[in-house]
Amino acid sequence: MTDALARIEHAAVSMLVALGVALIGVPLLLTLYLSVFDEKLILFPPHAYTLDWYNQIPATFGAPIWTSLRLGVTATIGSLLLGVPAGIGLSRHRFRGKGVISTLLLAPITVPGIALGLAVYIVMVAVDTNAGSALTGSLAGLVLAHVMITTPWVVRLCLASLATHDRAAEEAAASLGALPLLVIWRVTMPAMRPGIIAGGLFAFVVSFENLELALFLSSPGVTTLPVAVLQYLEYHIDPLVAAVAVAQTIGIAILLLLLDRFVRLGRAVQ
Protein backbone atom coordinates (compact mmCIF):
# COMPACT_ATOMS: atom_id res chain seq x y z
CA MET A 1 0.00 0.00 0.00
CA THR A 2 2.66 2.46 1.00
CA ASP A 3 4.68 1.33 -2.00
CA ALA A 4 1.81 2.15 -4.30
CA LEU A 5 1.41 5.52 -2.58
CA ALA A 6 5.09 6.26 -2.97
CA ARG A 7 4.91 5.35 -6.64
CA ILE A 8 1.94 7.64 -7.18
CA GLU A 9 3.70 10.41 -5.29
CA HIS A 10 6.83 9.90 -7.35
CA ALA A 11 4.84 9.95 -10.59
CA ALA A 12 3.01 13.11 -9.52
CA VAL A 13 6.24 14.90 -8.71
CA SER A 14 7.78 13.83 -12.01
CA MET A 15 4.72 15.06 -13.89
CA LEU A 16 4.80 18.44 -12.15
CA VAL A 17 8.49 18.83 -12.95
CA ALA A 18 7.87 17.88 -16.57
CA LEU A 19 4.98 20.35 -16.72
CA GLY A 20 7.16 23.12 -15.28
CA VAL A 21 9.96 22.44 -17.72
CA ALA A 22 7.46 22.37 -20.57
CA LEU A 23 5.90 25.68 -19.49
CA ILE A 24 9.29 27.35 -19.53
CA GLY A 25 10.85 25.41 -22.38
CA VAL A 26 8.15 25.18 -25.03
CA PRO A 27 7.69 28.93 -25.59
CA LEU A 28 11.49 29.31 -25.71
CA LEU A 29 11.83 26.52 -28.25
CA LEU A 30 8.92 27.84 -30.30
CA THR A 31 10.47 31.29 -30.30
CA LEU A 32 13.77 29.82 -31.40
CA TYR A 33 11.98 27.85 -34.13
CA LEU A 34 10.03 30.90 -35.27
CA SER A 35 13.14 33.08 -35.44
CA VAL A 36 14.58 31.07 -38.34
CA PHE A 37 11.42 31.07 -40.55
CA ASP A 38 12.14 32.51 -43.98
CA GLU A 39 8.73 34.20 -44.19
CA LYS A 40 7.54 37.81 -44.12
CA LEU A 41 4.42 36.77 -42.27
CA ILE A 42 4.38 33.93 -39.82
CA LEU A 43 3.18 30.98 -41.88
CA PHE A 44 3.27 27.37 -40.82
CA PRO A 45 4.96 25.32 -42.05
CA PRO A 46 7.57 27.68 -43.46
CA HIS A 47 8.80 27.01 -46.95
CA ALA A 48 12.43 27.76 -45.99
CA TYR A 49 14.68 28.64 -43.05
CA THR A 50 17.09 31.54 -42.68
CA LEU A 51 19.32 33.24 -40.12
CA ASP A 52 18.81 36.55 -41.87
CA TRP A 53 16.47 37.90 -39.16
CA TYR A 54 19.42 37.97 -36.78
CA ASN A 55 21.31 40.11 -39.30
CA GLN A 56 18.48 42.59 -39.34
CA ILE A 57 18.48 43.12 -35.57
CA PRO A 58 21.13 45.90 -35.52
CA ALA A 59 19.44 47.92 -38.26
CA THR A 60 16.02 47.87 -36.62
CA PHE A 61 16.77 47.56 -32.93
CA GLY A 62 20.40 48.75 -32.67
CA ALA A 63 19.53 52.13 -31.15
CA PRO A 64 17.01 50.78 -28.58
CA ILE A 65 19.43 48.02 -27.58
CA TRP A 66 22.15 50.61 -27.07
CA THR A 67 19.75 52.74 -25.02
CA SER A 68 18.69 49.74 -22.92
CA LEU A 69 22.31 48.72 -22.33
CA ARG A 70 23.34 52.21 -21.25
CA LEU A 71 20.25 52.48 -19.11
CA GLY A 72 20.78 49.04 -17.56
CA VAL A 73 24.44 49.64 -16.75
CA THR A 74 23.85 53.11 -15.31
CA ALA A 75 20.85 51.97 -13.28
CA THR A 76 22.87 48.99 -11.99
CA ILE A 77 25.76 51.21 -10.91
CA GLY A 78 23.32 53.64 -9.32
CA SER A 79 21.45 50.95 -7.43
CA LEU A 80 24.70 49.39 -6.22
CA LEU A 81 25.91 52.78 -4.96
CA LEU A 82 22.65 53.18 -3.06
CA GLY A 83 21.83 49.59 -2.20
CA VAL A 84 25.15 48.29 -0.87
CA PRO A 85 25.57 51.01 1.78
CA ALA A 86 21.87 50.71 2.59
CA GLY A 87 22.26 46.96 3.05
CA ILE A 88 25.26 47.45 5.34
CA GLY A 89 23.49 50.12 7.35
CA LEU A 90 20.26 48.19 7.71
CA SER A 91 21.96 45.00 8.81
CA ARG A 92 24.56 46.56 11.06
CA HIS A 93 22.92 49.36 12.94
CA ARG A 94 19.81 50.12 14.88
CA PHE A 95 18.49 53.60 14.37
CA ARG A 96 15.27 55.56 14.42
CA GLY A 97 13.22 55.15 11.27
CA LYS A 98 15.00 51.95 10.30
CA GLY A 99 11.68 50.19 9.74
CA VAL A 100 10.38 52.99 7.53
CA ILE A 101 13.54 53.11 5.44
CA SER A 102 13.57 49.34 5.14
CA THR A 103 9.96 49.31 3.91
CA LEU A 104 10.51 52.18 1.49
CA LEU A 105 13.59 50.54 0.04
CA LEU A 106 11.80 47.26 -0.57
CA ALA A 107 8.35 48.64 -1.50
CA PRO A 108 8.87 49.13 -5.26
CA ILE A 109 9.01 45.34 -5.67
CA THR A 110 5.46 45.02 -4.40
CA VAL A 111 3.83 47.88 -6.32
CA PRO A 112 2.49 46.94 -9.81
CA GLY A 113 4.79 48.28 -12.52
CA ILE A 114 2.05 50.14 -14.40
CA ALA A 115 0.95 51.99 -11.25
CA LEU A 116 4.56 52.84 -10.51
CA GLY A 117 5.15 54.01 -14.08
CA LEU A 118 2.13 56.30 -14.04
CA ALA A 119 3.06 57.69 -10.61
CA VAL A 120 6.65 58.37 -11.63
CA TYR A 121 5.43 60.00 -14.85
CA ILE A 122 3.08 62.35 -12.97
CA VAL A 123 5.77 63.26 -10.45
CA MET A 124 8.33 63.95 -13.18
CA VAL A 125 5.95 66.14 -15.14
CA ALA A 126 5.18 68.06 -11.96
CA VAL A 127 8.88 68.46 -11.19
CA ASP A 128 9.62 69.58 -14.74
CA THR A 129 6.81 72.19 -14.77
CA ASN A 130 7.84 73.57 -11.41
CA ALA A 131 11.62 73.39 -11.64
CA GLY A 132 11.95 73.94 -15.38
CA SER A 133 13.95 70.73 -15.75
CA ALA A 134 13.60 68.23 -18.61
CA LEU A 135 13.50 64.91 -16.79
CA THR A 136 10.43 63.45 -18.50
CA GLY A 137 11.42 61.49 -21.56
CA SER A 138 15.16 61.91 -20.94
CA LEU A 139 17.62 59.11 -20.30
CA ALA A 140 18.41 60.67 -16.91
CA GLY A 141 14.76 60.45 -15.96
CA LEU A 142 14.62 56.80 -16.99
CA VAL A 143 17.79 56.06 -15.05
CA LEU A 144 16.32 57.61 -11.90
CA ALA A 145 13.13 55.59 -12.26
CA HIS A 146 15.05 52.38 -12.91
CA VAL A 147 17.32 52.94 -9.93
CA MET A 148 14.15 53.04 -7.87
CA ILE A 149 12.98 49.61 -9.04
CA THR A 150 16.41 47.97 -9.10
CA THR A 151 17.70 49.13 -5.68
CA PRO A 152 15.35 46.84 -3.71
CA TRP A 153 16.96 43.81 -5.33
CA VAL A 154 20.44 44.98 -4.41
CA VAL A 155 19.38 45.76 -0.82
CA ARG A 156 17.64 42.42 -0.42
CA LEU A 157 20.55 40.39 -1.74
CA CYS A 158 23.08 42.38 0.29
CA LEU A 159 21.04 41.83 3.44
CA ALA A 160 20.85 38.12 2.66
CA SER A 161 24.61 37.87 2.19
CA LEU A 162 25.22 39.62 5.51
CA ALA A 163 22.74 37.54 7.48
CA THR A 164 25.23 34.73 8.01
CA HIS A 165 28.28 36.97 8.33
CA ASP A 166 30.02 36.98 11.72
CA ARG A 167 29.92 40.50 13.08
CA ALA A 168 32.92 39.71 15.26
CA ALA A 169 35.15 39.75 12.15
CA GLU A 170 34.47 43.47 11.88
CA GLU A 171 35.26 44.02 15.54
CA ALA A 172 38.44 42.01 15.08
CA ALA A 173 39.45 44.26 12.18
CA ALA A 174 38.76 47.35 14.27
CA SER A 175 40.78 46.01 17.18
CA LEU A 176 43.65 45.34 14.77
CA GLY A 177 43.71 49.02 13.89
CA ALA A 178 41.37 49.35 10.90
CA LEU A 179 39.41 52.61 10.61
CA PRO A 180 35.65 52.13 10.23
CA LEU A 181 35.61 52.67 6.45
CA LEU A 182 38.56 50.35 6.04
CA VAL A 183 36.70 47.71 8.04
CA ILE A 184 33.84 47.92 5.54
CA TRP A 185 36.19 47.81 2.57
CA ARG A 186 38.45 45.03 3.80
CA VAL A 187 36.04 42.82 5.76
CA THR A 188 32.36 43.60 5.20
CA MET A 189 32.44 44.06 1.42
CA PRO A 190 34.39 40.85 0.72
CA ALA A 191 31.82 38.96 2.78
CA MET A 192 29.05 40.56 0.72
CA ARG A 193 30.64 39.76 -2.62
CA PRO A 194 28.10 37.12 -3.74
CA GLY A 195 25.24 39.41 -2.72
CA ILE A 196 26.71 42.42 -4.49
CA ILE A 197 27.33 40.51 -7.71
CA ALA A 198 23.93 38.80 -7.68
CA GLY A 199 22.25 42.09 -6.77
CA GLY A 200 23.96 43.91 -9.62
CA LEU A 201 22.95 41.16 -12.01
CA PHE A 202 19.33 41.25 -10.91
CA ALA A 203 19.34 45.03 -11.14
CA PHE A 204 20.62 44.86 -14.72
CA VAL A 205 18.12 42.23 -15.81
CA VAL A 206 15.19 44.00 -14.11
CA SER A 207 16.17 47.26 -15.79
CA PHE A 208 16.85 45.70 -19.19
CA GLU A 209 13.51 43.95 -19.47
CA ASN A 210 11.38 46.60 -17.81
CA LEU A 211 8.51 47.74 -20.00
CA GLU A 212 6.04 49.46 -17.68
CA LEU A 213 8.23 52.36 -16.57
CA ALA A 214 9.66 52.88 -20.05
CA LEU A 215 6.17 52.98 -21.58
CA PHE A 216 5.54 56.19 -19.69
CA LEU A 217 9.01 57.65 -19.63
CA SER A 218 10.57 56.94 -23.02
CA SER A 219 10.40 59.46 -25.84
CA PRO A 220 11.25 59.30 -29.56
CA GLY A 221 14.94 59.87 -28.91
CA VAL A 222 15.08 57.61 -25.86
CA THR A 223 13.42 54.28 -26.62
CA THR A 224 14.31 51.12 -24.74
CA LEU A 225 14.32 47.69 -26.34
CA PRO A 226 11.06 46.42 -24.78
CA VAL A 227 9.24 49.58 -25.92
CA ALA A 228 10.76 49.32 -29.39
CA VAL A 229 9.67 45.68 -29.65
CA LEU A 230 6.14 46.60 -28.59
CA GLN A 231 5.98 49.41 -31.13
CA TYR A 232 7.35 47.14 -33.85
CA LEU A 233 4.72 44.51 -33.07
CA GLU A 234 1.95 47.03 -33.68
CA TYR A 235 2.76 47.10 -37.40
CA HIS A 236 4.70 43.91 -38.16
CA ILE A 237 4.18 40.27 -37.41
CA ASP A 238 7.39 38.69 -38.61
CA PRO A 239 10.10 36.49 -37.10
CA LEU A 240 12.39 39.49 -36.32
CA VAL A 241 10.91 39.92 -32.86
CA ALA A 242 11.45 36.24 -32.16
CA ALA A 243 15.09 36.65 -33.20
CA VAL A 244 15.46 39.60 -30.80
CA ALA A 245 13.93 37.57 -28.00
CA VAL A 246 16.28 34.66 -28.64
CA ALA A 247 19.30 36.94 -28.81
CA GLN A 248 18.31 38.61 -25.54
CA THR A 249 17.73 35.27 -23.80
CA ILE A 250 21.07 33.91 -24.96
CA GLY A 251 22.86 37.08 -23.90
CA ILE A 252 21.44 36.98 -20.39
CA ALA A 253 22.03 33.23 -20.11
CA ILE A 254 25.70 33.69 -20.96
CA LEU A 255 25.93 36.46 -18.37
CA LEU A 256 24.39 34.19 -15.72
CA LEU A 257 26.67 31.27 -16.55
CA LEU A 258 29.75 33.48 -16.43
CA LEU A 259 28.78 34.97 -13.08
CA ASP A 260 27.89 31.60 -11.64
CA ARG A 261 31.50 30.60 -12.15
CA PHE A 262 32.64 33.37 -9.81
CA VAL A 263 29.96 33.27 -7.15
CA ARG A 264 27.45 30.67 -6.23
CA LEU A 265 24.40 32.67 -7.18
CA GLY A 266 22.07 29.98 -5.88
CA ARG A 267 23.37 30.63 -2.39
CA ALA A 268 23.14 34.40 -2.63
CA VAL A 269 19.52 34.35 -3.77
CA GLN A 270 18.22 32.07 -1.02
Binding site: D166, E171, A174, S175, L176, G177, A191
Partner: protein, 379 residues
Protein backbone atom coordinates in the same frame (compact mmCIF):
# COMPACT_ATOMS: atom_id res chain seq x y z
CA UNK B 1 56.15 34.99 35.69
CA UNK B 2 58.24 36.86 33.18
CA UNK B 3 57.06 40.39 32.65
CA UNK B 4 57.89 41.99 29.34
CA UNK B 5 59.52 45.40 29.85
CA UNK B 6 56.77 47.01 27.77
CA UNK B 7 53.90 45.17 29.52
CA UNK B 8 51.03 47.46 30.42
CA UNK B 9 48.91 47.90 33.50
CA UNK B 10 45.16 48.14 33.16
CA UNK B 11 42.78 49.66 35.61
CA UNK B 12 38.99 49.52 35.65
CA UNK B 13 37.41 52.04 37.95
CA UNK B 14 33.78 51.80 39.00
CA UNK B 15 32.61 50.73 35.55
CA UNK B 16 28.87 50.79 34.97
CA UNK B 17 27.12 49.80 31.79
CA UNK B 18 23.34 49.65 31.55
CA UNK B 19 21.09 48.14 28.92
CA UNK B 20 17.79 49.85 29.50
CA UNK B 21 17.12 49.72 33.23
CA UNK B 22 19.33 46.67 33.71
CA UNK B 23 22.93 47.21 34.79
CA UNK B 24 24.91 44.53 32.95
CA UNK B 25 28.09 45.82 34.56
CA UNK B 26 27.51 47.33 37.98
CA UNK B 27 30.38 49.19 39.64
CA UNK B 28 33.23 46.92 38.56
CA UNK B 29 36.72 47.91 39.66
CA UNK B 30 39.89 45.98 38.96
CA UNK B 31 43.62 46.63 38.91
CA UNK B 32 45.58 44.43 36.52
CA UNK B 33 49.34 44.53 36.98
CA UNK B 34 51.74 44.28 34.01
CA UNK B 35 52.10 40.74 32.71
CA UNK B 36 49.25 39.39 34.80
CA UNK B 37 46.57 37.01 33.51
CA UNK B 38 43.22 37.86 35.06
CA UNK B 39 40.19 35.71 34.36
CA UNK B 40 36.68 37.14 34.48
CA UNK B 41 34.56 34.22 35.58
CA UNK B 42 30.85 33.83 36.05
CA UNK B 43 27.64 32.31 34.76
CA UNK B 44 26.17 33.57 31.50
CA UNK B 45 24.66 37.02 31.87
CA UNK B 46 26.98 37.95 34.74
CA UNK B 47 28.52 40.86 32.82
CA UNK B 48 31.91 39.35 32.03
CA UNK B 49 31.63 39.69 28.25
CA UNK B 50 30.18 43.20 28.57
CA UNK B 51 33.19 44.11 30.71
CA UNK B 52 35.54 42.75 28.05
CA UNK B 53 33.71 44.71 25.35
CA UNK B 54 34.03 47.86 27.45
CA UNK B 55 37.79 47.30 27.68
CA UNK B 56 38.04 46.64 23.93
CA UNK B 57 36.03 49.77 23.18
CA UNK B 58 33.11 48.08 21.40
CA UNK B 59 30.86 49.50 24.10
CA UNK B 60 31.08 52.74 26.02
CA UNK B 61 30.59 52.67 29.79
CA UNK B 62 27.81 54.76 31.32
CA UNK B 63 30.02 55.52 34.31
CA UNK B 64 33.56 54.89 35.43
CA UNK B 65 36.95 54.96 33.78
CA UNK B 66 39.37 52.58 32.09
CA UNK B 67 43.05 53.40 32.36
CA UNK B 68 45.88 51.87 30.40
CA UNK B 69 49.27 52.60 31.97
CA UNK B 70 47.64 55.40 33.92
CA UNK B 71 45.92 57.28 31.11
CA UNK B 72 42.23 57.05 30.36
CA UNK B 73 41.29 55.27 27.14
CA UNK B 74 37.54 55.83 27.45
CA UNK B 75 37.53 58.30 24.58
CA UNK B 76 39.58 56.10 22.24
CA UNK B 77 37.81 54.08 19.52
CA UNK B 78 38.69 50.36 19.32
CA UNK B 79 41.18 50.84 16.49
CA UNK B 80 43.32 53.11 18.64
CA UNK B 81 43.40 50.98 21.78
CA UNK B 82 46.14 48.52 20.77
CA UNK B 83 44.35 45.52 22.17
CA UNK B 84 44.71 42.06 20.70
CA UNK B 85 41.42 40.21 20.88
CA UNK B 86 40.68 36.54 20.41
CA UNK B 87 36.96 36.06 19.86
CA UNK B 88 34.85 33.10 20.87
CA UNK B 89 34.08 32.46 17.18
CA UNK B 90 37.74 33.32 16.32
CA UNK B 91 36.35 35.82 13.78
CA UNK B 92 39.05 35.09 11.22
CA UNK B 93 38.64 36.85 7.90
CA UNK B 94 37.19 34.06 5.75
CA UNK B 95 38.46 35.44 2.44
CA UNK B 96 42.09 35.83 3.57
CA UNK B 97 44.59 33.02 4.05
CA UNK B 98 46.35 32.38 7.34
CA UNK B 99 49.36 34.57 6.56
CA UNK B 100 47.20 37.49 5.44
CA UNK B 101 44.96 37.13 8.47
CA UNK B 102 48.01 37.45 10.71
CA UNK B 103 49.38 40.31 8.59
CA UNK B 104 46.11 42.31 8.77
CA UNK B 105 46.95 44.35 11.86
CA UNK B 106 50.47 45.03 10.62
CA UNK B 107 49.13 46.26 7.27
CA UNK B 108 46.79 48.59 9.14
CA UNK B 109 49.84 49.93 10.94
CA UNK B 110 51.72 50.28 7.62
CA UNK B 111 54.54 48.19 9.02
CA UNK B 112 56.19 47.76 5.59
CA UNK B 113 56.35 44.56 3.57
CA UNK B 114 59.61 43.24 4.94
CA UNK B 115 58.81 43.86 8.60
CA UNK B 116 55.31 42.46 8.12
CA UNK B 117 56.55 39.27 6.47
CA UNK B 118 59.16 38.73 9.17
CA UNK B 119 56.59 39.20 11.91
CA UNK B 120 54.10 36.89 10.19
CA UNK B 121 56.79 34.19 9.96
CA UNK B 122 57.64 34.68 13.62
CA UNK B 123 53.98 34.34 14.61
CA UNK B 124 53.49 31.26 12.41
CA UNK B 125 56.45 29.63 14.17
CA UNK B 126 55.10 30.65 17.55
CA UNK B 127 51.78 28.87 16.97
CA UNK B 128 53.43 26.09 14.91
CA UNK B 129 51.44 26.71 11.74
CA UNK B 130 54.29 27.40 9.28
CA UNK B 131 52.97 24.73 6.94
CA UNK B 132 49.50 26.25 6.85
CA UNK B 133 50.26 29.85 5.91
CA UNK B 134 48.49 29.65 2.54
CA UNK B 135 45.36 27.88 3.81
CA UNK B 136 42.01 29.60 4.12
CA UNK B 137 40.39 29.58 7.58
CA UNK B 138 37.67 27.14 6.52
CA UNK B 139 40.39 24.62 5.60
CA UNK B 140 41.62 24.55 9.21
CA UNK B 141 40.48 22.63 12.26
CA UNK B 142 39.00 24.48 15.24
CA UNK B 143 42.25 24.29 17.18
CA UNK B 144 44.24 25.61 14.23
CA UNK B 145 41.80 28.48 13.71
CA UNK B 146 42.15 29.27 17.37
CA UNK B 147 45.94 29.46 17.04
CA UNK B 148 45.66 31.72 13.97
CA UNK B 149 43.35 34.00 15.94
CA UNK B 150 45.91 34.11 18.74
CA UNK B 151 48.78 34.78 16.32
CA UNK B 152 46.79 37.54 14.63
CA UNK B 153 46.09 39.19 17.98
CA UNK B 154 49.70 38.90 19.17
CA UNK B 155 51.25 40.06 15.88
CA UNK B 156 50.47 43.71 16.59
CA UNK B 157 52.36 43.70 19.93
CA UNK B 158 49.13 44.52 21.77
CA UNK B 159 49.34 46.33 25.09
CA UNK B 160 46.66 44.02 26.43
CA UNK B 161 45.47 40.64 25.19
CA UNK B 162 41.73 39.99 25.53
CA UNK B 163 40.43 36.43 25.27
CA UNK B 164 36.68 35.90 24.99
CA UNK B 165 35.79 32.28 25.87
CA UNK B 166 38.73 31.16 23.72
CA UNK B 167 38.33 27.48 24.49
CA UNK B 168 34.57 27.02 24.43
CA UNK B 169 34.41 25.93 20.78
CA UNK B 170 37.04 23.22 21.17
CA UNK B 171 36.42 19.64 22.18
CA UNK B 172 37.40 18.57 25.69
CA UNK B 173 40.74 16.93 24.83
CA UNK B 174 41.93 19.88 22.77
CA UNK B 175 40.75 22.38 25.36
CA UNK B 176 43.32 21.33 27.95
CA UNK B 177 46.18 21.42 25.43
CA UNK B 178 45.08 24.82 24.21
CA UNK B 179 44.73 26.15 27.76
CA UNK B 180 48.32 25.13 28.50
CA UNK B 181 49.48 26.59 25.21
CA UNK B 182 47.81 29.93 25.89
CA UNK B 183 49.29 30.02 29.39
CA UNK B 184 52.79 29.25 28.12
CA UNK B 185 52.57 31.84 25.34
CA UNK B 186 51.20 34.44 27.70
CA UNK B 187 53.92 33.80 30.25
CA UNK B 188 56.70 33.66 27.66
CA UNK B 189 55.57 37.00 26.23
CA UNK B 190 54.77 38.46 29.64
CA UNK B 191 51.72 40.11 28.17
CA UNK B 192 48.94 41.56 30.30
CA UNK B 193 45.91 39.41 29.60
CA UNK B 194 42.23 39.39 30.44
CA UNK B 195 40.24 36.29 29.71
CA UNK B 196 36.53 35.68 29.97
CA UNK B 197 35.09 32.25 30.69
CA UNK B 198 32.17 30.53 32.36
CA UNK B 199 34.21 27.39 33.01
CA UNK B 200 35.82 27.37 36.44
CA UNK B 201 38.27 24.56 35.63
CA UNK B 202 39.54 26.58 32.68
CA UNK B 203 39.71 29.66 34.87
CA UNK B 204 41.60 27.87 37.65
CA UNK B 205 44.09 26.43 35.16
CA UNK B 206 44.95 29.78 33.59
CA UNK B 207 44.45 32.56 36.05
CA UNK B 208 46.94 34.47 38.16
CA UNK B 209 43.85 36.03 39.66
CA UNK B 210 40.16 35.35 39.29
CA UNK B 211 37.37 37.88 39.23
CA UNK B 212 34.08 36.18 39.96
CA UNK B 213 31.13 38.16 38.63
CA UNK B 214 27.43 37.77 39.27
CA UNK B 215 24.62 40.12 38.22
CA UNK B 216 27.19 42.60 36.97
CA UNK B 217 28.86 42.85 40.37
CA UNK B 218 32.26 41.63 41.51
CA UNK B 219 31.74 38.83 44.03
CA UNK B 220 35.38 38.21 44.85
CA UNK B 221 38.80 38.94 43.40
CA UNK B 222 41.83 36.86 44.23
CA UNK B 223 44.11 33.99 43.31
CA UNK B 224 42.20 30.78 42.51
CA UNK B 225 43.18 29.20 45.87
CA UNK B 226 41.79 32.16 47.78
CA UNK B 227 38.39 31.82 46.16
CA UNK B 228 38.50 28.13 46.88
CA UNK B 229 39.71 28.36 50.48
CA UNK B 230 38.11 31.62 51.58
CA UNK B 231 34.88 32.28 49.65
CA UNK B 232 33.51 35.65 50.65
CA UNK B 233 29.84 34.86 50.08
CA UNK B 234 27.57 31.88 49.37
CA UNK B 235 27.60 32.58 45.62
CA UNK B 236 31.39 32.19 45.47
CA UNK B 237 31.19 29.00 47.55
CA UNK B 238 28.47 27.68 45.28
CA UNK B 239 30.17 28.63 41.98
CA UNK B 240 33.69 27.52 42.92
CA UNK B 241 33.53 23.87 43.79
CA UNK B 242 29.75 23.60 43.68
CA UNK B 243 29.20 23.80 47.44
CA UNK B 244 26.06 22.50 49.05
CA UNK B 245 24.17 25.52 50.35
CA UNK B 246 21.93 25.18 53.37
CA UNK B 247 20.00 28.17 54.72
CA UNK B 248 18.76 28.35 58.27
CA UNK B 249 19.34 29.99 61.68
CA UNK B 250 22.26 29.46 63.97
CA UNK B 251 21.06 28.54 67.45
CA UNK B 252 23.29 27.89 70.40
CA UNK B 253 26.38 28.52 68.19
CA UNK B 254 26.82 24.96 66.95
CA UNK B 255 23.46 24.11 65.40
CA UNK B 256 21.94 25.35 62.16
CA UNK B 257 18.18 25.18 62.57
CA UNK B 258 16.26 24.63 59.33
CA UNK B 259 12.85 25.93 58.42
CA UNK B 260 11.39 22.41 58.52
CA UNK B 261 12.23 22.11 62.21
CA UNK B 262 15.26 19.86 61.90
CA UNK B 263 18.80 21.04 62.43
CA UNK B 264 22.33 20.41 61.21
CA UNK B 265 25.21 20.18 63.66
CA UNK B 266 28.06 22.46 62.60
CA UNK B 267 31.71 21.44 62.67
CA UNK B 268 32.75 24.64 64.43
CA UNK B 269 31.11 26.97 66.91
CA UNK B 270 29.97 30.45 65.89
CA UNK B 271 29.50 33.42 68.13
CA UNK B 272 26.86 35.01 65.95
CA UNK B 273 23.32 33.74 66.22
CA UNK B 274 20.52 34.38 63.75
CA UNK B 275 19.96 33.82 60.06
CA UNK B 276 22.87 32.06 58.41
CA UNK B 277 23.94 30.10 55.37
CA UNK B 278 26.14 27.03 55.49
CA UNK B 279 28.30 26.02 52.52
CA UNK B 280 30.18 22.72 52.29
CA UNK B 281 31.80 21.33 49.14
CA UNK B 282 30.73 17.85 48.04
CA UNK B 283 34.41 16.80 47.99
CA UNK B 284 34.82 17.72 51.67
CA UNK B 285 32.09 15.39 52.86
CA UNK B 286 32.85 11.83 53.95
CA UNK B 287 30.09 9.35 54.50
CA UNK B 288 30.14 6.77 57.27
CA UNK B 289 27.83 4.35 58.96
CA UNK B 290 25.97 5.88 61.92
CA UNK B 291 28.20 6.10 64.98
CA UNK B 292 27.76 7.26 68.53
CA UNK B 293 30.37 10.08 68.69
CA UNK B 294 29.35 13.62 69.65
CA UNK B 295 28.33 15.67 66.64
CA UNK B 296 26.04 13.86 64.28
CA UNK B 297 24.70 14.77 60.88
CA UNK B 298 22.62 11.94 59.63
CA UNK B 299 20.56 11.26 56.57
CA UNK B 300 19.42 8.60 54.20
CA UNK B 301 20.99 7.94 50.81
CA UNK B 302 18.70 8.82 47.92
CA UNK B 303 20.96 8.20 45.00
CA UNK B 304 24.41 6.73 44.44
CA UNK B 305 26.17 7.50 41.18
CA UNK B 306 29.50 5.96 40.29
CA UNK B 307 31.40 8.07 37.71
CA UNK B 308 34.65 6.13 37.61
CA UNK B 309 37.11 8.55 39.15
CA UNK B 310 34.49 9.69 41.65
CA UNK B 311 31.44 8.38 43.39
CA UNK B 312 28.58 10.70 44.28
CA UNK B 313 25.85 10.28 46.88
CA UNK B 314 22.77 12.40 47.31
CA UNK B 315 21.87 12.25 50.99
CA UNK B 316 18.57 13.61 52.30
CA UNK B 317 18.97 15.19 55.74
CA UNK B 318 15.42 16.42 56.09
CA UNK B 319 12.42 16.94 53.81
CA UNK B 320 13.83 20.25 52.62
CA UNK B 321 17.56 19.53 52.48
CA UNK B 322 19.52 17.14 50.28
CA UNK B 323 23.32 17.14 50.31
CA UNK B 324 25.69 16.04 47.56
CA UNK B 325 28.81 14.20 48.72
CA UNK B 326 31.64 13.18 46.44
CA UNK B 327 34.51 10.79 47.10
CA UNK B 328 37.14 8.91 45.13
CA UNK B 329 35.59 6.16 43.05
CA UNK B 330 38.67 4.03 42.43
CA UNK B 331 41.82 2.84 44.14
CA UNK B 332 42.73 2.06 47.76
CA UNK B 333 41.08 5.29 48.99
CA UNK B 334 37.81 4.62 47.16
CA UNK B 335 34.80 5.76 49.15
CA UNK B 336 32.39 3.02 50.11
CA UNK B 337 29.22 2.94 48.05
CA UNK B 338 25.89 3.04 49.87
CA UNK B 339 22.63 1.77 48.50
CA UNK B 340 19.62 4.03 48.31
CA UNK B 341 17.75 4.01 51.63
CA UNK B 342 20.87 3.38 53.77
CA UNK B 343 21.21 5.58 56.86
CA UNK B 344 24.62 7.31 56.87
CA UNK B 345 26.40 10.00 58.83
CA UNK B 346 28.07 12.95 57.08
CA UNK B 347 31.44 14.21 58.26
CA UNK B 348 33.34 17.34 57.36
CA UNK B 349 36.01 19.33 59.12
CA UNK B 350 35.75 22.87 60.45
CA UNK B 351 38.20 24.04 57.75
CA UNK B 352 35.85 22.87 55.03
CA UNK B 353 32.80 24.54 56.50
CA UNK B 354 31.83 28.07 55.49
CA UNK B 355 29.17 30.01 57.33
CA UNK B 356 27.72 33.33 56.17
CA UNK B 357 25.48 35.76 58.03
CA UNK B 358 22.16 37.28 56.96
CA UNK B 359 23.93 39.74 54.63
CA UNK B 360 26.03 36.93 53.13
CA UNK B 361 29.27 37.99 54.84
CA UNK B 362 31.55 35.24 56.16
CA UNK B 363 31.23 34.46 59.86
CA UNK B 364 34.50 33.31 61.49
CA UNK B 365 34.43 30.22 63.69
CA UNK B 366 34.54 31.09 67.39
CA UNK B 367 37.96 30.28 68.96
CA UNK B 368 37.81 26.80 67.53
CA UNK B 369 41.19 25.68 68.93
CA UNK B 370 39.99 25.96 72.49
CA UNK B 371 36.43 24.88 71.93
CA UNK B 372 35.70 21.63 73.71
CA UNK B 373 32.68 21.21 71.44
CA UNK B 374 34.92 21.16 68.42
CA UNK B 375 37.47 18.77 69.92
CA UNK B 376 34.88 16.11 70.39
CA UNK B 377 32.96 16.86 67.23
CA UNK B 378 35.85 17.03 64.85
CA UNK B 379 36.07 14.03 62.58
Amino acid sequence: MMVAPEASSLSLRNLVRRFGAHAAVDDVSLEVTPGELVVLLGPSGCGKTTTLRLIAGFLAPDEGDIRLDGSSIIALPPHKRDMGIVFQSYALFPHLNVARNIAFGLEMRRAGTRATNARVQEMLRLVRLEAFSQRLPRQLSGGQQQRVALARALAIHPRVLLLDEPLSNLDAALRQDMAREIRLLQQARGITTIMVTHDQTEAMALADRLVLLHDGKVQQIGPPEALHLRPENPFVARFIGGSNIVRGRIDAGTQLGLSDGSSVALAAAYQQNGEATLAVRPDSIRLGAPDQTGRRVEGSVELCTWLGATVEHVVRLSPGVAILARGPGLGPDAAPRHKAGTRVTLHWSADDEFVFDASDRPVPAYTPHFSPTRETNHV
